[in-house]
């Protein structure tokens, strides 16, 4: 009973306009990597999926986008909720996923197991939505690349182990590669594959 009502509750009360509003946040965040965006509406996504991650799922997922979930998300009410609200089929293998959601604290799977697209079709790659603790950490990271004038400093806290190493390896694959959205509660930022991350201040 609990599972079922969790699956059916929430969602966008106005899919047309909320979907558009969230998409514009994502589009701006992807165009300006590292800029923090805040989702204002809670879509009631089952825990442990965050508010921002839930809104992004409702905005971008549908029947055409196989989705992969990390273990705790897989065991939560999320699969039913996603299925009911978006129709997105579960991806049997990581390599088949168009989107993948990873909850806070979960071990980061190897990016190499997901699709990075092909040299001819680099767009056929996954977008990873990774929940972290917050964007108010103490270690500054510097982002550079398209979409960023000079450099942009971010302070993500609770990045999964090995994220920075995998990100550097991802960059080498260009134009292939995965794209990442980091979420923390109702906030998020985007890291398209073009973004370089280095330690330190500007």
């Amino acid at each position: 009973m609990g599972l079922e009502s969790d699956s059916l509750s929430g969602g966008f009360h106005d899919p047309v306009f909320q979907g558009q509003a969230v998409f514009r946040l994502v589009m701006d965040a992807m165009a300006r990597p590292g800029t923090l965006q805040t989702v204002t509406d809670d879509t009631g996504a089952p825990s442990p999926l965050g508010i921002a991650a839930g809104a992004i799922a409702l905005t971008l997922l549908d029947h055409d986008t196989p989705v992969w979930l990390s273990v705790r998300l897989q065991k939560s009410a999320l699969p039913g909720w996603l299925s009911f609200h978006t129709g997105a089929p579960p991806a049997p293998e990581k390599a088949e996923a168009r989107f993948a959601f990873i909850e806070a604290g979960a071990p980061l799977p190897s990016f190499g197991l997901f699709s990075a697209g092909t040299q001819e079709y680099p767009d056929r790659s996954v977008t990873l939505i990774i929940e972290i603790a917050s964007f108010e950490g103490t270690t500054p990271l510097k982002l550079t690349g398209p979409g960023i004038a000079g450099g942009r400093i971010v302070h993500p806290s609770g990045l999964p182990d090995g994220f920075l190493r995998q990100w550097a390896e991802n960059h080498v694959l260009f134009p292939r590669g995965v794209d990442v959205v980091l979420t923390a509660g109702d906030r998020f930022l985007c890291l398209p594959r073009t973004t370089r991350i280095s330690a330190g201040a500007l």
Binding site: F17, Q20, A21, M27, M30, D123, G147, F174, D179
Partner: protein, 291 residues
């Protein structure tokens, strides 16, 4: 048949918008790469901006202010028609003022006024493939992009120089984006190419008939292809705009009579009107106050 005219906000159904939105995000993540998308049949002909219209329809919301230009002008018939389409199906605010617009859909020009953060420029694109006229096959050009094999393009430009003494491409002049993909900037005059480089605005390109979407994020390098001994240069005009006196803008040639009389006026009508409203006058213009 009574429900024939019931269309969704911004005409496209939500599933189509999601498909286009996902394509836009990947396009932004791979600057200059043409993302194939399942372009829909729009209620206006292919060639009239169906790609741009689909991109605009996928991103536009009630808070947006839309400007539509064709040849730089807000009052060309197709610009009027597309603006009216969105005013009708999306009920959004429209403007002719470049700085008031959040989304500017364009055919063949980039506005003279420098675009700002928060603005999106949506280009209508007829042939998105910069290599198409050198190699008509999609299967071949896709491999060339995959391998970054752009020698053919340089050969073509160099042949121009050998034959004509100049690079004979004056519009849709190819650019390299973020050091990787060679991209067709749509048929804008090469005069506008430098405006793409490190622009604060997000630039999205939609080709409906050819089913491609591509993008240049803000603050991204856009370099027009050239040679050391033949550096890229933009068009210059001998005279300023005859109406507002503007220099360093792109001008339209207007034929005044059948005896060779002609004048040159701003192609960007909003820019010209704004200048005239501020009292700028060209040699054939009149002071606004006098009207």
């Amino acid at each position: 048949m009574s429900d024939l005219a019931a269309y969704n906000f911004a005409y496209l159904d939500e599933q189509t918008k999601r498909m286009i939105r996902r394509a836009i995000l990947k396009a932004i993540a791979i600057p200059g790469y043409q993302v194939p998308f399942a372009s829909r049949e729009m209620p206006m002909p292919y060639g009239w901006g169906t790609g741009g219209v689909q991109v605009t329809a996928a991103i536009i919301g009630p808070a947006d202010v839309l400007k539509v230009i064709d040849q730089g002008a807000d009052d060309t018939t197709n610009a009027v028609s597309i603006r009216a389409f969105f005013a009708k199906v999306a009920n959004v605010a429209v403007t002719t003022h470049t700085d008031e617009a959040t989304i500017i859909q364009t055919r063949h020009r980039i506005p003279e006024k420098v675009l700002k953060e928060g603005q999106v420029l949506v280009y209508q694109v007829p042939i998105p493939e910069p290599l198409r006229y050198l190699e008509p096959r999609e299967t071949e050009t896709r491999t060339m992009h995959a391998l970054s094999e752009y020698g053919l393009m340089h050969v073509k430009l160099y042949e121009d120089i050998a034959i004509n003494g100049h690079i004979a491409t004056t519009y849709a002049y190819p650019v390299k984006v973020a050091g990787r993909y060679v991209m067709d900037p749509s048929p804008i005059p090469k005069f506008d190419n430098p405006k793409m480089h490190m622009s604060e605005a997000l630039q999205l390109f939609g080709a409906g008939r050819e089913k491609r979407i591509y993008a240049v994020p803000p603050f991204t390098e856009v370099v027009s292809l050239d040679f050391e001994d033949h550096p890229f240069e933009v068009q210059t005009f001998d005279k300023p705009c005859a109406l507002c006196g503007a220099e360093n803008v792109y001008l339209d040639e207007v034929i005044l009579d059948d005896r060779g009389g002609r004048m040159f006026v701003c192609s960007d009508t909003d820019h010209c009107e704004e200048r005239r409203a501020c009292g700028c006058v060209g040699e054939l213009g009149v002071k606004e106050a006098a009207e």
